[in-house]
């Protein structure tokens, strides 16, 4: 089972875990939760995305995980819109018969989504809003989007 959800709503980890555990066929569930960091007096973080394309990109990431490991479930839940430090921005889960596949697939899901999905961050400090610049690693990742 693949679940992709992109929404401005707060992420309910209990509800998401229940969906993963109900899938069956799993002896292990590994999860990762990303929180908005309070870096350098950031007051709010706003996440913009490309509706439709974001969901497709995340589905490809999840499908990539299910082809590499025998997973019972792969979940990617991502928040968009304005958030404040401490809030959950992303939740991923992978369930598998055994722990090694679940843990490895969970790492894969979060690593890939960081670079493969069209998200843009804008930080507000006081009254000043700035777009977060892509790191070199992000730029290298963007190069991989080139059609082969």
């Amino acid at each position: 089972m693949i679940r992709i959800h992109v929404s401005p709503a707060a992420i309910d980890i209990g509800a998401e875990m229940a969906l993963v555990e109900q899938t069956g066929g799993a002896g292990a569930v590994a999860t990762f939760t990303g929180l908005v960091r309070a870096d350098d007096d950031v007051g709010t973080l706003e996440l913009e995305h490309y509706p439709g394309a974001t969901e497709s990109a995340l589905r490809l990431v999840a499908e990539g995980a299910t082809t590499r490991w025998a997973l019972a479930a792969a979940t990617i839940v991502h928040r968009v819109g304005p958030m404040v430090p401490g809030e959950r921005i992303v939740f991923v889960a992978a369930s598998a018969p055994h722990r090694a596949a679940a843990l490895e697939a969970c790492t894969y899901l979060i690593d890939r989504l960081k670079t493969d999905a069209p998200f843009w961050k804008r930080e507000t400090r006081g009254t000043e809003a700035t777009w977060v610049e892509a790191r070199d690693t992000d730029t290298a990742a963007a190069e991989r989007w080139k059609e082969d």
């Binding site: 990303g34 913009e48 497709s56 991502h78 921005i89 843009w120 963007a142 989007w145």
Partner: protein, 85 residues
């Protein structure tokens, strides 16, 4: 045929619109040529699209290089490099 343009993040802010319908001439067949054509329309577009090195594109929601074809495209998006989830 009309193409739906989408702009994201600072490209959207600098363009002043999130979305517009365009009808470029038939000679405009690549993303790079389209960016040149858009920039040639007015000062706002020229300034918004000035930093070509920091522009990325998607054609019909597939992320592509700037030399990619736009022939037959229905939706083209321009945006900065992504900054992660």
């Amino acid at each position: 045929m009309a193409i739906e343009m989408l702009y994201f993040a600072w490209v959207r802010e600098r363009m002043g619109v999130a979305q517009e319908s365009i009808d470029p001439p038939a000679a405009v067949t690549s993303v790079a040529a389209l960016v040149d054509w858009l920039a040639g329309r007015d000062d706002t577009s020229a300034a918004a699209l000035e930093d070509r090195v920091r522009l990325r594109a998607a054609v019909d929601q597939n992320f592509v290089a700037m030399d990619a074809s736009i022939v037959g495209a229905r939706e083209i998006a321009l945006f900065p490099p992504v900054t992660g989830g």
